[in-house]
């Protein structure tokens, strides 16, 4: 069982291989369509993002509301390709790991390689189980976007599969 904890270490990332099942514990930031759009508006306006993205993990998810008695709602991955246009810029800014589901385009894959970052996929449709891995959550930006706001999550043993590793191996059968 491969465990990954944050802060991320480059040596650990370099050892990951496409197809590895890993369990992540630590800090993860969320962002999907609307949050990406807003981050880019912020970048263009003020030159900075609402959080320091260097060495961080970004998870593409729009959770369901948190019911009483739970730490978080259901929280499985959303389709990555809609974020492809934004991703290389974020990788250049130091983002190190992305968790989502589905194909990435070549520009994103090349940018991942160049920046020695990795793309992992979480299991689409395992939202309840993935939501239960979230021990703590806090909205840190764009609260008005509801499920599309940026959350800072503390996760424990969050399962994901390495899809594109730092050597350019792809776990998807294409």
């Amino acid at each position: 069982m491969i465990q990954i904890t944050t802060p991320l270490k480059q040596e650990v990332l370099n050892q990951l291989q496409a197809g590895d099942l890993v369990f992540i514990s630590g800090t993860v930031y969320t962002a999907r369509d609307a949050a990406h759009k807003r981050m880019f508006e912020d970048l263009n306006r003020s030159g900075s993002l609402p959080f320091d993205i260097r060495n961080q993990i970004l998870y593409y998810v729009g959770p369901s509301p948190t019911p009483p008695g739970q730490n978080f709602g259901s929280a499985g991955p959303t389709t990555a390709s809609r974020m492809d246009v934004y991703t290389p810029t974020l990788l250049e800014l130091g983002l190190k790991m992305i968790i989502a589901k589905g194909y990435r385009n070549d520009t994103v894959k090349q940018s991942l390689l160049k920046n020695q970052a990795v793309y992992l996929v979480a299991i689409g449709g395992a939202g309840a189980m993935l939501g239960k891995c979230v021990k703590n959550s806090e909205i840190i930006a764009y609260e008005e976007l509801g499920p599309e706001a940026i959350y800072k999550l503390e996760v424990e043993n969050f399962p994901a599969i390495v899809c594109w590793d730092t050597k350019g191996n792809d776990a998807y059968i294409q």
């Binding site: 589901k101 299991i123 449709g125 599969i161 776990a171």
Partner: protein, 282 residues
């Protein structure tokens, strides 16, 4: 004339919306277990196991199985002997959806306009509603919560009649290949063939309301469903697109007469959630 109140319809829609979010249907669970048994030890088997566990976790914690709790599609057949009283049918349906998404802590995923602003309606309405008037004195309400990871990978082709059976086959396989991991395999494939461009899509959606294991009553189509399922699973896409024998769990085809000049084909993709149910009001 038989009278059914709008309130009764609202309650039925609400209950239906809630009944499909927190657990796989018993039949779906069975089918997933079967496929899990057929996968070799490894990633594909593990993923199917996690999906089955997810259904338990969801029902124990009353968390929806998936955070994309879908857009509600309602198919209603209304007996012509029935009169709907004390309110509007459409409002009753939307109110049922609204209440379910509120009390069920389900994600509200609907925007008010597809191009401009895209403002969230904040209550997951409106639903897509199809009605059909038939003989009889009851109302049948079928409700589905359609996820859009899979909806986005659906496709239409106006095939030439000369493309025939092979044309349909190729288009279904091509669409599933393109969908790959994006649609969260294992998948359920709804195919609509015939009618007009729009009606083929309605048929494909209708196909997705079939319970898994149910076959087309026409033997030729039932055989095509079985063959396509085998061919899709031979693609090797596997659970979550990471390789394996389980790419699809079912292929459902609905057909209708069409024009001498055409053979419309729509492939509507659904994921393993396959959230749908049926209520009969008498």
């Amino acid at each position: 004339m038989k009278k059914i109140t709008a309130e009764k319809i609202k309650e039925a829609v609400k209950e239906a919306c809630l009944s499909i979010q927190y657990r796989y249907s018993p039949k779906m669970e069975e089918v997933l277990k079967d496929y899990m048994g057929k996968e070799e030890p490894g990633l594909a088997k593990n993923i199917l196991k996690i999906l089955l566990e997810n259904s338990d976790t969801a029902s124990e914690n009353r968390l929806p199985m998936c955070q994309d709790t879908g857009m509600i599609v309602v198919r209603m057949t209304i007996g012509q002997e029935v009169q709907i009283v004390d309110g509007s049918l459409r409002e009753a349906i939307n109110q049922g959806v609204r209440e379910a998404y509120d009390v069920g802590y389900l994600r509200k995923s609907i925007v008010d306009d597809p191009i401009f602003d895209r403002k969230n309606t904040k209550d997951n309405t409106p639903a897509i509603v199809y009605t059909d008037i038939v003989d009889g004195d009851e109302i049948v309400i079928e409700v589905a919560a359609k996820g859009f990871g899979s909806e986005n990978m659906s496709a239409l082709k106006m095939c030439k009649p000369s493309e025939g059976l092979n044309g349909v086959r190729q288009f279904v396989l091509e669409t599933v290949k393109k969908a790959g991991p994006n649609a969260c395999p294992p998948l359920i494939i709804g195919v609509g063939v015939g009618g007009t461009m729009d009606y083929a899509a309605v048929l494909a959606k209708k196909a997705l309301f079939r319970e898994i294991g149910e076959e087309n009553p026409d033997e030729r189509y039932a055989n095509l469903e079985k063959e396509l399922l085998i061919e899709i699973n031979e693609l090797g896409i596997g659970p979550q697109g990471l390789g394996g024998k389980t790419t699809a769990l079912g292929v459902f085809i609905e057909h209708y007469p069409t024009h001498i000049a055409s053979m419309p084909v729509v492939v509507n993709i659904n994921c393993h959630m396959a959230r749908h149910t049926k209520v009969v009001l008498k």
